[in-house]
Structure formats: C-alpha cells, structure tokens
C-alpha cells in the first residue's frame, strides 16, 4: 500500500529544495528549523515569541513527556498542541535518543529498550509499539520511528547491529502506526554511523518499508562536520525526491546551510536556546559571546539591521550585564534573539532557493560570518 504524501516540492536549486509539508495542525514551509520544546515548553521563550519568530513547527521530546506529565494525561487534556497552547504542527522524537543519553540502567534487546527514569528511578520499557502509542497519545503531527543511535566513533559491527535492529523496529513502528488518522505522519530514520554502505543499506531498507518522510539520524553525535556532510551526501540522493528529509539534532547555522545545500528539508536543535542561556548570540556577523568584557560599555545593539526588535533594541552593555548577573531576562532575550535568527536564516534560505540564487546566498552568508563581529567602538 502506498503511503500518502503530504509534501509538495515547490522548487529546487542544485541539490537544495524548498517546499511545503501539510500537517493536521498547519503547513510547514521547508527548509524548516524546528525549535525544541523539550518537556512541553521552550526554555526561556513564550510560545508567542516562537510563533512571531516565524517557526511553523516545533519539536517535543517523547522521553521527557512520557515520564512527566505522562502521555495518557496529555491525551486526556486534548493532545500536546492544545496542552501547551502552541496549537501548531509538532513533531516528536521517538524517545530512543534520550533513553540512550539520559536514562539509567539502559538495556536494549530485540523486543524493546528497558531503562530507569532519570526523575524517579521507575523501571520502564520502550518498544517500537509503545513509542508509536505514546506519540499518538501526544497527538504529534509527525511521529518518529524508534531507533538505536550509536555514539561515534564506534565499531563497524556495533553500527551495523544497531542499524539492522533500527530497520526491524522501523517495520514494527510502521505496523503500529497503520491505524493513525489521515494526515498524521511517520518518518523512518536512516542509521549507519559513518559507514557509507551501511547508510545506503539503511536508506534502501526504509524505502522498502515506506514512510511519509525520512530522517537521517545518528549524526551530530561527536563526529567532525566533514563526516556529517559526507554521510548526508551518501544518504540523501537515495531518498525519494518527493518526500521530506529531516536531519536530526542539527545544528549550527553553518551546518544547516551546508545540509540544505545537500538536499535536507528539516532540522531541529537546542542550540538557539542552550547557547542563549550561556550568553551566546547568533547574528549575521557570526556568534557573539556576550560574556566578553568588551561589551560592558557598548551602547550598540547586537545588530541594528536586524528585523527582530530585541536584536535591535537592547544594547550590548545591557545584555552583557544581564548575562554576567545571571538574570533570567538575559537567557530569555538571547534565546529569543537566537530563535529569531535561526528562523530568519531559514526564511532567507527558502527565498534564495525559490529565486534560484541559493549558491550566491550561501557564499554571502558564510562570508559575513567569517568577517566576524563589528570592530569595538
């Protein structure tokens, strides 16, 4: 049976693509960056700011939400979109990645992964079937298959075992998803570490099963950027051109630009908010560290050309003071400024692809980052 397609490719420029993905809670313009609302909230941001920044879709973490407040509870409260008041498209991960990174006493077998909650130590099991059930209870517009992600570097045998297990789990996830209502989507995840042949095998195996879209997982887990880009170059061309492609957990603005150039449509990362909490601002001049003492007396805004009010209206001196004083407002403003910067980058990327000027845009953007920040006054 053919899997329905909710993705419309609007234009390409080289390998770069722009399109629209229609979900039950609205349309997502691609390439899209999904801000991460870990446990049903964006850290330091109001939902209206996420919307105003231009995000069409956000990501929720199944692992966090299944532990607290619980998937059944969120279902009874009308689903994650309504619970959070976001009311727009949401993608959830499968929980697998965070079971690997956060949970205690983790054991993977053919059937499932068992672990203990990092909150209260409760013994829990996440099977492919339960991962789908939880995501359907949450009401995710886009659910992800359960997979096993191996941290790099790793042995070939380990990478292959995890990739094959992920393929078998992909099939079980697909079956568990069969009764989902029309319009909801399930993405398979290409694994295979840094081994080209395993990436090929994984992609082909997933295509045989058939998904609404395809993710590339197991990257941005410690490998150099060249390896990440090489693996995208191995996997992306194999994936069906008419389906969305999502690079999980990526990344810096430069990672995104380079991955778009290689045919990726969707991204997610905690970097805008996490780095914001640590005093780092993303700008057209590259990253700016507001902890640096050179900002203490600087009345200039981060970027007076920005169309985002907070980027234009707060002085570097004030942001520096807030960061040095650990004032919540510092984390709030920089998280908001970074979220807006990422969304602005995606908007510019989409426009450049649509206009057939992506390569020029990519070079100009990289040049501005490399030129760096304004000279001190």
């Amino acid at each position: 049976m053919t899997v329905p397609n909710h993705f419309e490719l609007l234009g390409t420029d080289g390998a770069a693509r722009t399109g629209r993905l229609t979900t039950p809670h609205g349309v997502v313009r691609t390439p899209a960056f999904m801000p991460v609302g870990t446990a049903g909230a964006m850290k330091g941001l109001h939902w209206r700011e996420v919307r105003d920044a231009g995000a069409d879709i956000v990501l929720g973490n199944t692992y966090h939400l299944m532990l607290r407040p619980g998937a059944e509870r969120i279902a009874a409260l009308g689903g994650l979109q309504r619970f959070t008041t976001w009311n727009g498209p949401m993608l959830t991960d499968s929980g697998g990645f965070q079971v690997m990174s956060l949970a205690q006493l983790r054991k993977v077998n053919e059937q499932a992964v068992t672990f203990r909650s990092h909150i209260d130590g409760a013994a829990l099991e996440l099977s492919p079937e339960r991962a789908i059930e939880v995501q359907r209870l949450l009401g995710s517009d886009i659910a992800m298959q359960l997979d096993e992600c191996v941290r790099l570097p790793a042995d070939h045998a380990d990478i292959e075992r995890a990739m094959q297990l992920s393929l078998r789990w992909a099939e079980r996830c697909k079956r568990a998803f069969e009764t989902a209502p029309d319009g909801y989507m399930l993405f398979g995840i290409v694994q295979g570490g840094d081994v080209p042949e395993l990436r090929h095998d994984s992609a082909r195996g997933l295509i045989d099963i058939g998904f609404h879209g395809y993710a590339i997982g197991g990257l941005a887990v410690g490998e150099p950027q060249e390896v990440m880009l090489a693996m995208i170059e191995e996997a992306a061309p194999i994936l069906p051109a008419d389906r969305p492609r999502y690079l999980m957990g990526v990344g810096t603005p430069e990672d995104i630009l380079e991955a778009v150039a290689r045919g990726i449509d969707m991204f997610d990362c905690v970097m805008p908010t996490r780095n914001g909490r640590h005093g780092l601002a993303f700008t057209q001049y590259g990253p700016i560290n507001l902890r640096n003492a050179k900002h203490a007396d600087d009345p200039r805004p981060l970027d007076e050309e920005s169309d985002w009010p907070s980027t234009r209206n707060y002085s570097r001196a004030y942001l520096h003071h807030l960061v040095k004083s650990s004032e919540t407002l510092g984390a709030m403003l920089l998280s908001e400024i970074n979220t807006a910067y990422y969304q602005r980058l995606m908007r510019d990327i989409r426009a450049a692809i649509a206009a057939g000027r992506f390569e020029e845009f990519r070079l100009r953007t990289r040049e501005a980052w490399e030129r760096g920040d304004l000279p001190p006054r």
Copy 2:
C-alpha cells in the same frame, strides 16, 4: 526653601487616597504598586509585560546596581531608564536595606556604612552623600534617603539610635540632593520600629527637613501584620496630606488593601515574581499553589474571568506541569500572571476610591479571597 510638590491628590475616600505623581519619565497613578527590577531586570518578565500589566513605575535596587554594572557605567549609558529600555518612571532605594541584608562585614558609624560586596568581597562605603550620588548617576526619578533599618523585634534603645541616625542622614541626603534637576524627587523615610512615639518623632523630624514625599520604612521585616498596620496608623496621619506616602517592601494583596485604607499611596515588593518562581499564583480567589497535585489533570485556567490573557489561556494542568518540571516558562508565566494581578488590584483600588466605594470594594475583595479557590472538578 519649600520643596516643590509633584503630587496631585485627585480624591479621597475615608483615609484612602487616589492621585497622580508626575516624574521626569512620566505620570504615576496612585495608589501604585512598583514591581521590583532588582539589578536592572524583572526576574522572568519582559519589560513589555510589565508595561502591559499596567505598571507606571518600577523599583531598582541601588545596592545591586552600584556593585554591578556600576552607577558611573549606567550614567555613561544614559541612565537606568534607557539602559534597561524601560524608559518610564523609576524609583531606587538607597542601598541601605540590602547592605544590611546581603553585604558582609557590615559596620555602621556616623559617617557611613562600610561593607564588603557579596559578589567579589570588595570593601565599599555607602555614605548618605554617596547614596544620593549613586541614585543621581542612575537617573532615578525618585531617590530614597539612606537610612538604617532595624529588624524587629529589637530593643527600644537600638530602634531609637537607628532612627536618630536616619534623621541625621536624611538631612545630609537632602543637602546632597540640592543640585538635582527640577522634577526629580527625594523621599525621606520614617523609622522607629514598633514604637509609636519614635515613629512620631521620626515623621516630625523628616517634615522639618522637608521632602518631596515620605516613606514608611522598617516594616514587613518580621513583625505581625497588626503591628505593621498600627505603625502606619501612627505615622500616616502626621505626614503632609499633599505629599505621596510610600510603604516600603509591602506586601501581600491583603497588606496593600489594608495599607491603602490607612492612607498609603505607593508600594513595592518582590512577592509577585518571587512567589511566582515558587509556583504560587495570586488570583481573585486568593493564592493558588500550582505545585498541588490536584491541578495535574485540571484543564481549567487559573481564572477564566481575568482580563489577563495568560491567566485565562493556560490550563492549571499545564502550569502544574511546568512548575513540577522546573521549566523556566512556569516561572515566567506565574511572574507575569502575578504582576498583572497586582496591577489589576491597584487599578480596581484607584477606581473604587475615585467612585467613593472603597470600603465596599475592600470587603468584597477580602470576601472573595476568603472564599478561596474554585472547588476541584
């Protein structure tokens, strides 16, 4: 020389008063509650939310700001109103209260208080003259005299000594303030602990010196509410009816209602934001503790009759989840909800006084608080 008066009394109802205080950065409607922007920021709030909530004036803490980022630096950056982007009226305390509560190795003598910074241990001195100089550098619309505040209970002799010292410092502050530009104000502070005669002496001494307005200090420092209200009853009637009266560091919604009934015009307190960070919401039903498990499955908002969107639009279940998960958004929303509640209370108080129905309003408001929260569903 007569001290100019920038306060206009618009109406009274019993001892309760409503008026307007004109500052260089705008008009303050009284009775007014000043949210506390400790170190140049409201904890968990954007400035636009403070404005939208209806606050006309905010308070900055001289002690925090003189340590970091420094008064001279803020002056060079255009003053505290511009530095923070608040751009509205600001009152600063003298720094004395926080020297007493936060600084190390504090020593008071006739000349000044010496102490060590709680941030880096630097040895510092705060004299009446320096307290005024710092506040003028910050550009406060309303500066406060340096005083010595005694924590209650305390010996009569201690209270009297501190009160007399505060009077001598009041005089020095007044002299130091003489060159301030027109429109900027200096308030004296009535001390005297819980001793009526000392409160009288303090108030009369300050009136002899002459200030733009008068504060009542040294309350809400551990004494029962009856003592606080009794001391207001001793001091307020002595103070000039045509000058604003400010009760420092107060308080709960009930404290405010009762103090307004006794002729107070201005308040400040960290309670809306501090209690918000701890999961407590102020509502027309009294305080609601969002940590309580009974909210976990409750889809109802805190108060569907509220005119503040966040009070109406987020479910108790979501707020409970955010608080239990220590999500920043929980602190942000409850700080905002509480700030809006306090400002709504002040607006209603002003309207009730203007309409000559303050006593009826006071009883009705207290009844609603005492009835308590809605029954569980």
